[in-house]
């Protein structure tokens, strides 16, 4: 077994090294296993020469030779690969890129664009990570039960980061990020299938499906930004919403709520507008409170403030925003966008103008920028819900 493991580890390293140069084989996992077999056969030859092969190893080699037709799925190998990519010894910022490169076979240039890093820097990071895998002797395996929860979380985080990067590209117009959301969902499905006992894996999948369902409604016919509260629910993808609901229901049967399940539940509450025509802000505020207990990110805090503004009034929402530490908001666009809208709602126009200005300056997306410019100029009786960047992005 150890020999098989080493061989797979070597194959992973070979993949890490040759894929960026040679491009990805049509079926990466089959290639990976084939490479592992090649190395196993080589190793077996060595072993034979040196000390005579162990019977078990002989058997594996024989099987590898006999198995000319390769099953195209090999899910277990991919799962192990995901765990290697999200290992705690690997820099957090490098985990998602590594996953995209090794599991999905994206090239370094495309990954660099998706994460807004120079291609040279990204290549160097990936090279360093590979060296790190070797030095740290990270094992190519599914962690044991004791380690599993923490390791699963890291895998899910990395997949979510990939989705977040794809989510920003609403229209799929940005070639540097095209299809990244779909790739992330594919990974999410894979993990959910391979780890049926992990409700958080299902939670992440449900979350991504809910966000994806709204893609057609996020821009109007002329490319203008449409905030969630004004989206035409008829444009939401019903099949995706239904699938998300099923997945989330399956997750909740485990009775172990977690960060991704809560985030999915928040999106599920928004999705109910399809049936009821209204948004249950009370439920959403409550879910955010739960989310803040297990994952007090700045995105969750801003989302909570937005929900509070609907449930307990604009001032309460503003109060929640003001309680967020200053150092974390300097470049956080959703904070300023929400603050601007709430101030405007209260008729505090001068302060609102300042906050709008800040939000506009921090917007990367042209449609969002134009939306905010229009909102800033609108009369103060104009009531709009904040353009929450709805989860899906790493901010939420």
């Amino acid at each position: 077994m150890a020999a098989a493991e080493d061989a797979l580890g070597d194959a992973l390293l070979a993949a890490l090294e040759s894929w960026p140069r040679a491009g990805v084989p049509d079926n990466p996992d089959a290639w990976l296993l084939a490479a592992a077999r090649r190395q196993l056969i080589d190793a077996a030859r060595h072993a034979k020469v040196e000390a005579g092969a162990a019977p078990g190893l002989e058997l594996i080699v024989a099987q590898a030779r006999g198995n000319a037709v390769i099953d195209p799925t090999f899910p277990d190998e991919r799962l192990k690969l995901l765990f290697v990519c999200a290992h705690s010894a690997i820099d957090e910022a490098a985990r998602t890129p590594l996953m995209l490169q090794t599991v999905l076979g994206l090239d370094a240039t495309r990954i660099a664009s998706a994460f807004l890093v120079s291609p040279t820097t990204m290549s160097q990071r990936l090279v360093r990570v590979k060296a790190r895998i070797r030095e740290a002797g990270i094992r190519f395996e599914v962690p044991d039960a004791r380690e599993l929860p923490a390791r699963v979380e890291a895998v899910l985080e990395a997949i979510y980061a990939a989705y977040g990067s794809g989510w920003e590209d609403v229209a799929g117009a940005d070639p540097r990020r095209r299809g990244l959301a779909e790739e992330a969902i594919w990974l999410g499905r894979l993990v959910a299938r391979l780890l049926p006992g992990e409700p958080e894996a299902l939670g992440l999948l449900a979350l991504m499906l809910h966000c994806e369902a709204r893609r057609p409604a996020r821009r109007d016919s002329s490319g203008g930004y449409v905030p969630l509260s004004r989206q035409n629910v008829a444009l939401w993808s019903r099949p995706l919403v239904e699938e998300a609901e099923e997945v989330l229901a399956a997750a909740s049967r485990a009775g172990q709520p977690g960060r991704f399940q809560l985030e999915a539940a928040i999106q599920s509450a928004h999705a109910r507008r399809m049936a009821t025509g209204r948004t249950d802000w009370e439920a959403i505020a409550l879910l955010y409170e739960g989310l803040l207990l297990c994952a007090p990110t700045i995105g969750a805090r801003v989302g909570h403030a937005a929900a509070l503004a609907e449930v307990r009034g604009t001032e309460a929402g503003l109060g929640a925003l003001d309680a967020i530490p200053n150092e974390s908001i300097a470049t956080y666009q959703p904070y300023w966008a929400l603050k601007a809208h709430l101030l405007k709602r209260l008729g505090r126009d001068a302060e609102a103008a300042q906050a709008f200005e800040r939000a506009i300056g921090l917007s990367e997306d042209r449609a969002v920028r134009e939306f905010l410019v229009a909102a800033a100029q609108a009369p103060s009786s104009w009531r709009a819900s904040a353009p929450r960047s709805v989860t899906g992005s790493s901010q939420a």
Partner: protein, 116 residues
Amino acid sequence: MKYTILIYENEADFATRSDEKRKDAYWGAYRAYTQALTQAGVMIGGAGLQPPGRATTIRLRDGKRQVQDGPFAEAKEQLGGYYVIDVPDLDRALDWAARCPAASTGTIEVRPNLPN
């Protein structure tokens, strides 16, 4: 670490600057961007430039002056302005460059400054 954000705009961008309907959005976006840079504490300086048609180029060759109207090179996108920012690394500089209004229409070039 200081970086210069060079803003290359196309002809349509330059035209927007004086288009009655769209100039407010154009200048508003840059005002907001400049304010965001300033309030985040990364702004060192910068300038907006008049369109390339207002440029004059000069070369000295064999002791002779060659003066021409127009920009250094004919290209679809021309330098429209620049910012100098102080951020910890290239990643942060690219974050800011992506927020520059011209990123969605023209091209933004980010260069590390030489040390003083």
